[in-house]
Amino acid sequence: SLSEYNYEVYHSLEDIQSWMHYLNQTQPSLVQVFSIGRSFEGRPLLIIQLGRKSQVYKRAVWIDCGIHAREWIGPAFCQWFVKEAILTYKTDPAMRKMLNHLYFYIMPVLNVDGYHFSWTHDRFWRKTRSRNSKFRCRGVDANRNWKVKWCDEGASADPCDDTYCGPFPESEPEVKAVANFLRKHRKRIRAYLSFHAYAQMLLYPYSYKHATIPNFSCVEFAAHKAVKALRSVHGIRYRHGPASQTLYVSSGNSMDWAYKNGIPYSFAFELRDTGYFGFLLPEMLIKPTCTETMLAVKNITMHLLKNCP
């Protein structure tokens, strides 16, 4: 059953995809799982459409996790989010409202090949696993491969670097598949949320330049409320702000691309912690991390539904 799956441990890619197929079969009123393409190594790129099925036009929120392979707390959160949404649909008025009014498109693992490689071979792998016969090194940074000031500051043209931007924008089939989906549905998708680790930050555009976004006030207020809500759970402090100031300038990332392509509310979370465990956040911290982040995401979604144009 949904509640028998252990959401407080990290799972292999196979387990995660089996869980998605299981949900597809057992939660037909709220869940539909489909593929948007194949990874470089041929794995399906699976998305969960979460929300009350409706013939009426519904706006949507996109959530992706696992762009960087070694950031395992991301996919753990994506699974947690789905579980919480389904389990509390009937008892939580806020969740019911969100799932009735919106669809969530959730991609628990975007970089499926990299995640599998980090599970089986190299725990600290970051990039995709694409190969180019011209180069001796594999993989592209899936968060430098988007067509927004591609391969500029903060990205590398060296295939052996961890921030390699790729031979051209959207060279990675995973990035291309997601970009195509977001382009196709951009009029419906109101928010883009991407989950990474580690730094304990909630970021919004721009990352590629030092400038203020046109809808700054609504975005900043949503972020401010979200980190305040997050902190109320376990006292964990998250910084928030434009990525270029709060973190560093980086070009070619998904958050900036989503914003530039018409998704008005675009955020990137850097989840726990700040370096004590780094990428190796112990499983016993999955629950508190996901619980506080859940509240932040609900907060952002409700704020955007009610207060932002």
Binding site: G154, A155, G275, G278, L280
Partner: protein, 99 residues
């Protein structure tokens, strides 16, 4: 052991350069030792005051620590035994499943 014990002896070290000269020196030694940069994502971001976390192999850690002590660059060992940290990440149940 997880991952065939490949992380035995590896460390994760936090460095905070106090000047641009120190930052330049860190960039150079990081490149030479082929460190795995945990944060920031690119060595080009490292400048005065940047919190920089690097993963180094056992051999590289000896060289790096000696260099840091010699140049008086502020550092802290975040993870002394990375293999142990990798194994502690997973519960006993998960470890059993992985095996």
């Amino acid at each position: 052991h997880s991952y065939d014990n490949r992380y035995a002896g590896h460390k994760v070290i936090r460095l905070i350069p106090k000047s641009e000269e120190e930052a330049l020196a860190l960039k150079s030694v990081s490149h030479q030792l082929k460190v795995d940069l945990w944060q920031p994502s690119s060595i080009s971001y490292v400048s005065e005051g940047t919190i920089t976390d690097v993963r180094v192999t056992q051999n590289a850690s000896r060289t790096l620590l000696a260099f840091l002590q010699k140049t008086n660059i502020q550092y802290k060992v975040l993870i002394e035994d990375l293999q142990k940290a990798v194994e502690n990440e997973n519960s006993v149940h998960t470890q059993r499943n992985r095996r």
